[in-house]
């Protein structure tokens, strides 16, 4: 009997001490409760908006790739720029009106991220730090990006109806996510080969050259296409003006005759 009392006492003491000294797991449980609520909400949104192509658990089908391991960054980019849900199949799914709120996108992202580990959506410190180096960004952009997106991000054509879109007006976060995840046919530039700092430099460069406020000391950019559009302009308008002047020089003078 005494042994039983001692056991009960010991159990009560242990339980009490545990309750008193270990409050952290309780908070964590609450946190992961919120997380699992987001995943649950995300799953509901997914079943309505995405499952018809990407299949019921994100494992993909003939109409859409598997989403296991694409990470929350890919969801934030694809849904945040309106590319997903896709309107119709075709060579390329284009940017359109965004139909989900940012809160819903975050829920979807939480659900997709729960399917398998993948790149997480970046924080503001990652995509727009105060100390970004525009010149270095320009160099990196010309090495890694300009072959498709043009040297100031105006975009360009690819094969079979695909194209690299213009980067004008894209948000810093979405540019960062595109580099990180490689949407559609764009190759990815993961942190292992292009560190986060380099991505931020590239974004700073794009903001310096590719916004409505970007200075262009020479005037007309003519699409920033280089010698092709510049040559066309010079030949058509430059030569056209000279021809007009030549006609004026050789034109018959106005005569004072009666008509």
């Amino acid at each position: 009997m005494a042994a039983l009392v001692v056991l009960l006492f010991a159990l009560a003491a242990t339980g009490g001490l545990y309750a008193a000294l270990a409050p952290a797991p309780k908070a964590q449980a609450q946190d992961s409760g919120q997380q699992s609520l987001a995943i649950e909400q995300g799953k509901k949104l997914y079943d309505v908006g995405c499952a018809s192509c990407h299949n019921s658990n994100g494992q993909g089908s003939d109409d859409g790739p598997s989403l296991v391991g694409v990470g929350s960054a890919a969801v934030d980019f694809q849904v945040g720029t309106g590319r997903m849900p896709a309107q119709q199949p075709g060579p390329q799914v284009e940017k359109k009106k965004v139909i989900y709120t940012q809160a819903q996108i975050d829920q979807l992202a939480a659900y997709i991220a729960s399917l398998g580990p993948g790149p997480a959506a970046p924080t503001k410190d990652q995509y727009s730090p105060a100390d970004a180096d525009v010149a270095k960004g320009g160099e990196l952009f010309r090495t890694n990006c300009s072959q498709c997106h043009n040297f100031v991000g105006k975009g360009g054509a690819l094969t079979h109806g695909k194209f690299a879109p213009s980067l004008k007006g894209s948000s810093s976060k979405h540019i960062y996510e595109a580099m990180q995840t490689g949407p559609q046919n764009m190759p990815s530039f993961p942190d292992s080969t292009m560190p986060s700092k380099d991505k931020a430099d590239i974004i700073a460069y794009l903001h310096a050259v590719d916004t409505a406020q970007s200075p262009n000391p020479g005037g007309f950019t003519l699409g920033s296409l280089g010698p092709v559009s510049e040559g066309l302009f010079a030949w058509v308008f430059g030569l056209g003006t000279l021809l007009g002047l030549a006609v004026w020089l050789a034109a018959r003078n106005t005569k004072a005759k009666k008509s």
Partner: protein, 352 residues
Amino acid sequence: MTEIGSHNDVPENLPEHGSDHGHEAARKDPFANPGLPPHEFRRQDIDPKAARHSERVVTGLFVLSMLATIGFIACFVIFPVDKIVYIFPFGHVSALNFSLGLTLGVALFAIGAGAVHWARTLMSDEEITDERHRADADDQLRENVRQQWITGAKESGFGRRKMIRNSMLGALTLVPLAGVVLLRDLGPLPEKKLDHTAWAKGKKLINSNTSQPLRPEDVQVGSLTFAQPQGLEETQDDFQEQIAKAALMIVRLKPGDIKDKRERDWGHEGIVAFSKICTHVGCPISLYEQQTHHVLCPCHQSTFDLSDGARVLFGPAGHPLPQLRISVDGDGDLVALGDFEEPVGPAFWERS
């Protein structure tokens, strides 16, 4: 041209001028030279008010040019070189560039326009007939020149002093050789330089972004990375020459997606390294589509399939992109197993 009805329709000029001599001639011989049409006067020729107006316009243009030149100097002094202003429809332009161009343009154009307007309205526009003179000189002059030539030849002793003549001809023959020898500087021929690149056995693949050796775990499926050979620094004198041949693009495919056995064997766990120089005319080519594994050349649309030994799918390129054999060294870094097996870049003569 007939003369029917034309006689009375001669445009009537205010001052009576000219005659219908040409029309008389035309009646006799329809193919005769009709001569000049009668001169027509401009308003400025008969109306002093119009002439004064033209004079004022021309003077105004010249004065405008003067003001624009002064404006040019003023703008040069006023605007700092880095001032950016918004001007519709040009956008955000340099104030200095824009103002200098505008003022100098006006200054030059106004001089030209003034001169043309002056010539067209005020200078005489009377038509003039001037007969051509004979093309050849008269006989007397030709005979004079011939005599002078004969006298000169005799006095110089050109025909008599054969040693001088021959040595002079020799000197004149040799002098052009100097120019011919200079053409040598167009060469030398490329020799074997195009056959080899900076890649060699054991050289690590250095990431062009970070300047660090690439490790296989860094290269993800679907990613695109550019690499250069270990030991090649941008500060080297021949960096441009070397990177132009050695530039490398690295992609990773799922090993099952690689259709070409040699490509799979030459890569490392699906990581494959191809030359970045198009085999058509040598454009840098890295427009990589990660889902189709196509690489497109922006110059002439040659398309290569990186999942099938960089086979040419489309376009003028005649050869697949050369592949570099890679593996992993003792440090766990990606490393080349040798140089490219074939010359990179355009198919030049004596390839093979």
